[in-house]
Amino acid sequence: MNEKNATFEANMQRLEQIVRAMERGDVALDESLKLFQEGTDLVHACGKLLDEAQMQIEKVVKGADGNPTFEEFQDEN
């Protein structure tokens, strides 16, 4: 599981909903203001997730019991 990625994906989906709803223009003004605030926060959160992301790399090794174990992998950058 990759929580940051899951958060990013959920944020993007919610953002798409918000933008669509606001573009349809069938929500009341006070609701629009709330959506705008929420959407702006999500845009910032998504940008921050991308900016701060550090790609993790691990090597999959089959353990003695057959279950997977993960080893650090040093990539020559």
Partner: protein, 403 residues
């Protein structure tokens, strides 16, 4: 007759022109074994092809040599294509080789085509079976050699494009007899333990033999059976393998697979900027529309002239009331007419009505209607009803029909 004397240059040129005019020598394919292989700093390759009976000098110029799909070595059996011509400086003919393949490749191509036809027949390449790739893959499994350049190319591109993802490497051998079972094992293992959202299976460029593991039927079926979507990433752009056909997506190269597998963060940033702009536009449009609505309301009749507005409403109410009343009246009239019709129908069926048409009804003293002569005796008093009244009579004669 005096013999014509030619210079070396002249005779070599003469021989060259003879050879160059020959159609077979102009385009020939020669089978032999490589020896004396040398690559010069110029990039040209020089070697000799030989068989049991003889030898042929060969040269392959840099441009053609760069397109070789394998690294020639002494002892390799090859088929060399090109033209045979004279090298005037040495007075020697040689093969100017434009292309070269390993001998025996023909068998591999035949096997490739056979397997391709078989799997296509079974529907393994069916587009309907292709799974969509995740839009934002959280974990990408890479099934390839941990030694080659391919894995580093992929990691570099994935990190640059979408560092939010996590990469899990499944190191396998990608050539040789061990390669297919190891690749199959890695794909199955990743599926069994759900270790990735997306798999990239492949390797860097090499000869057709080097890539052969990805033409293996077991590998093809493992890719087909994978519940995790698979991108096939084998060799260079022109290399096509069975894995490419059966995978959910074919990438031209491993680097290309990394590009196809994840979104690009720069593009995502643009999308986010676009969302910000779209929200701002929508909001300001709504505020503007609200203002116009307010303006329109303040100019409405109700606000401009309340009494006039009320008067109009009152008249509307009156109009409606009249319509209601007239509807009621019409309804009563309709019901009355229906009552008269029904009464008329009843009246027509009344026995009294029959009497007015000249019939009479006889009754015994106790009021029973007479239907038979047997109901009375001579001398009985009976009542007779006619249209406009009743009278009494005495039975003076009885006569049954037929007597």
């Amino acid at each position: 007759m005096e013999q014509q004397v030619l210079s070396i240059t002249q005779i070599n040129e003469y021989i060259r022109s003879k050879m160059d005019a020959d159609p077979l020598l102009g385009s020939v394919a020669v089978r032999g074994e490589i020896s004396n292989y040398k690559m010069y700093p110029s990039g040209h390759h020089y070697f000799t092809l030989k068989d049991e009976g003889g030898a042929l000098k060969c040269v392959m110029f840099k441009g053609n040599a760069m397109r070789l799909r394998f690294r020639p070595e002494n002892g390799m059996k090859v088929i060399a294509m090109g033209k045979i011509s004279v090298f005037p400086r040495d007075g020697a003919y040689q093969l100017y080789c434009s292309a070269m393949t390993l001998d025996g490749i023909g068998d591999l191509y035949a096997a490739f085509e056979q397997l391709k036809a078989k799997l296509a027949g079974e529907g393994l390449f069916d587009p309907a079976h292709k799974k969509p790739l995740p839009k934002y893959p959280g974990v990408i499994g890479i099934v390839t050699s941990s030694a080659g350049a391919a894995v580093h190319d992929m990691l570099r591109i994935l990190r640059k494009r979408y560092p939010l993802t996590r990469v899990r490497l499944f190191p396998v051998r990608v050539q040789g007899v061990e390669a297919p079972p190891e690749i199959v094992g890695a794909i199955r293992y990743a599926n069994r333990y759900k270790l990735a959202d997306l798999l990239i299976v492949g390797r860097g460029g090499g000869s057709i033999e080097d890539l052969w593991a990805f033409n293996d039927e077991r590998v093809a079926r493992a890719i087909y059976d994978s519940e995790i979507p698979v991108i096939s990433a084998v060799g260079h752009e022109p290399d096509v393998t069975i894995s490419d056909f059966v995978a959910d997506l074919r990438a031209a190269t491993p680097s290309n697979a990394a590009e196809l597998g994840v979104p690009d963060q720069q593009a995502l940033q643009q999308v986010l900027d676009g969302y910000s702009a779209a929200m701002a536009t929508s909001l300001s449009r709504q505020i503007k529309a609200g203002r116009q609505h307010l303006k329109a309301l303040s100019g409405s009749p109700a606000l401009r002239s309340p009494t006039g507005y009320l008067e109009q409403r009152r008249q509307n109410v009156l109009l409606l009331k009249n319509r209601l009343l007239s509807a009621q009246t019409q309804s009563v009239e309709r019901k009355r007419r229906r009552f008269v019709e029904q009464t008329a129908k009843l009246d027509a069926m009344s026995p009294l009505k029959v009497l007015t048409r000249g019939y009479a009804m006889a009754q015994t003293k106790d009021g029973t209607v007479l239907r038979s002569v047997k109901q009375v005796n001579l001398g009985d008093e009976i009542g007779i009803a006619v249209g406009d009244g009743a009278l009494s009579a005495t039975v003076s004669q009885i006569k049954e029909n037929g007597q």
